[in-house]
Symmetry: C2
DNA sequence: ATATATTTTTAGACATATCTAAATTTAAAT
DNA sequence: ATTTAAATTTAGATATGTCTAAAAATATAT
């Protein structure tokens, strides 16, 4: 249906639209995709011709309903495969992204839906990101950022903003995993670092790290 | 490492080398790949430059050791994914080939080997074809063709020569499946059709169909 | 042995996707 | 309001993979 390149652009534009509500610029996309602005322009024209994006030269771009549908399908596949790799093939959560980048382009509705059923219709991928369902419906994340929490608050770690291998391995090293119950013991005003308590230990979390952690409030 | 196109050519050449011991011609490949001879020539030059095939213009081509290694890796992936689709995702054996054609190009040794372990190191794919192991070692098929059997012989159906959807669906319709014990009751001299007995019924098999069935001799 | 047919290769074109460098448009600064 | 800077687009090139049509090589027939 669509080429891998087209799918990757749609996915990137979708991500950009969801992380900032401003109009998406050629440079935004080039940066995210590690490519050149001129390449982006070429592709935007192609996607616009296929009615997947609305594109006004010099004025930025946004997904059409159709484009968003395609992006969500790719994201669904990406996250289902990541779940498969971690839960069935015992991959670590920091090693699945690259492989899912390939698997997300396999074209077969039957395959995706059978895989979904085989996995038991999971709601979230190994990084806490929601998995769009068959119809492209994705639950909006109600989690809150650790930076927004107050001393005494309790939550369950259920998502990460940064999904790079480096950050995920840092969490592994610190023995922090999705599902962990975390209590905010203290917030250091000097550097905004957060001192937390888990079931097994205490630790200090830098502001930079706290910014990349999402928790579900426990009351 | 290699492009999908390169891998598909190597796989096709491997298959041709195994179904006839003659030198593989440009036209042979074009026919098998449903492409044009000129396209094949272009690709053969590319593969020869990469030392994956030995190619003498006008004189045909054959795989180098390196080229065979790549082909076997692709075939290993193809058959493991087919096994996965049938055994885990409950696909029918006539519907997996097309999807496996895509999945066989996913690049990750970790993935293939983990999948292999997850599946319990299967020896044969859903069509009875042997699955090359981690090191590219593939057991040669000791099965015999139904056409070579005599009246009174007994065997277990364990492979098909023709793996097209049409043939596989024909076998389903006739209630013939891999693993079935089959006894040769009679061979009709007029049209070489074979009258067989299975655990549950009797039936007549045309010469054309018999040619596409492999059995493991039971004594 | 020469003519004819078949196979294979080459030449040139096209589609996709990417890049560099130059031109253009828009935004920011003086 | 010009000038300068930044962002974006265009022009032209390259790489991959495919095709059609023409040329060249090989095989077959008379
Ligand atoms: Mn990912
Ligand atoms: Mn993920
Ligand atoms: Mn197959
Ligand atoms: Mn098969």
């Amino acid at each position: 249906m669509f080429t891998q390149a087209e799918e990757n652009y749609l996915k990137a534009i979708y991500a950009l639209e969801n992380e900032s509500s401003e109009s998406i610029s050629t440079n935004n996309i080039a940066l995210k995709m590690e490519t050149k602005a001129s390449s982006v322009t070429d592709m935007l024209k192609k996607l616009a011709a296929k009615k997947l994006v609305e594109y006004k030269p010099y004025k930025g771009v946004h997904l059409t309903f159709e484009g968003e549908k395609v992006a969500l399908k790719v994201i669904r596949k990406h996250r289902l495969w990541e779940y498969f790799l971690v839960k069935k093939l015992k991959f670590s959560w920091d090693s699945v992204h690259e492989i899912a980048e390939q698997l997300e382009h396999i074209q077969s509705d039957d395959l995706v839906n059978s895989l979904d059923a085989f996995l038991g219709f999971p709601k979230k991928d190994p990084h806490g990101d929601p998995i769009p369902d068959k119809d492209g419906i994705v639950v909006s994340n109600t989690s809150i950022n650790m930076l927004g929490m107050k001393v005494g608050d309790v939550g369950v770690l259920n998502g990460v903003k940064d999904s790079t291998d480096a950050f995920l391995r840092y969490l592994d090293k610190k023995n922090l995993a999705l599902g962990d119950r975390i209590k905010i013991i203290d917030i250091e005003p000097y550097d905004n670092s957060v001192y937390i308590e888990t079931k097994t230990h205490h630790m200090s979390i830098s502001k930079h790290v706290a910014k990349n952690l999402y928790l579900k409030n426990k009351k």
